[in-house]
Symmetry: C2
């Protein structure tokens, strides 16, 4: 299955050796863990696999190696890596004299969490803030709202506002604590 692949030049010999059997086994287990984490986070399975294989590799991997070890298409890997880079979960490592990209994992939890907050949570909180303001307007104007009902609705929206505030306050704090 694993295709042998050609060297590009004699002065930059290909150190891309195959992983040992036990390394492969360890890799597989790590991948399982991250695939399951991906499910919890609601991201595609392939993204978990890609992060997993990079995390479990003792040296940075090339694009091609990721494709081969995971049996994924180039397309999936390209997209997955883009997402992971945008989250700050993988970085490219420079290797002198090699045109290819090498990928290594971000291993600081706080940075990973910060990326998730930035890319997934905060945009939602922003949007929710706007929407909430607009609904609160409507309830205050309250044409045709029964008085009792208006009281309950106002209370509900106050709750929602308090959720939003607490989230905006505590979420960024988490990344601090994880230092």
């Amino acid at each position: 299955m694993a295709k042998s692949y050609p060297m590009r030049s004699t002065e930059s010999p290909q150190v891309t050796n195959e992983p040992s059997e036990s390394q492969r086994a360890i890799q597989a287990q790590c991948i399982e863990i991250f695939v399951s984490a991906a499910a919890v986070l609601g991201v595609p399975r392939s993204i978990g696999e890609i992060y997993g294989v990079i995390f479990a590799a003792p040296r940075p991997l090339t694009f091609q190696e990721i494709v081969e070890r995971l049996n994924l298409s180039k397309g999936s890997v390209s997209q997955g890596l883009r997402a992971l880079r945008s989250l700050g979960a993988v970085r490219t490592a420079y290797v002198p004299g090699d045109r290819r990209d090498y990928f290594e994992p971000e291993t600081e939890l706080r940075n990973l969490v910060a990326g998730l907050l930035r890319d997934r949570i905060n945009p939602h909180l922003e949007q929710a803030k706007d929407r909430l303001t607009r609904v609160q307007q409507q309830v205050t104007d309250g044409g045709g709202l029964n008085a009792d009902e208006a009281v309950v609705l106002r209370a509900r929206l106050a709750k929602l506002e308090s959720w939003r505030k607490k989230s905006a306050l505590f979420l960024p704090l988490i990344t601090k604590v994880l230092g």
Copy 2:
């Protein structure tokens, strides 16, 4: 669109009045917010809609009302309500002399978060713990592992272990703080 629906008896008159126009508008906005939250949390859209319509209603709603206001099938509503009850996000309210279930929202953030932790996060953390232990074994046994590589791998697994510990420590703490 809204079907009129029959009373069941004269002694338990149907107070199930239609929501006013402004109430309907407010409801729609709330639903939008929760649908978007559902997307962030990676749960089905319909679950966001169902929680939204219950949250935005000034009184507990019946199963039938939820079906009608959202134009969802009974099947979807049944499944969605089951999930929401399991999370502790909606409760049934008892109404004397009425056989139907009435649903009202849990509005305490800490309880909602606690439900998510219990149902979604903790099971993953448990599983990860077992898996991690097993991989650590493998690396320690380390047949056929290059020494340099073994060092890096051990460090990686140590990181993973530290993530797990931090998560297990801080996540439950969050629900405390949200009091």
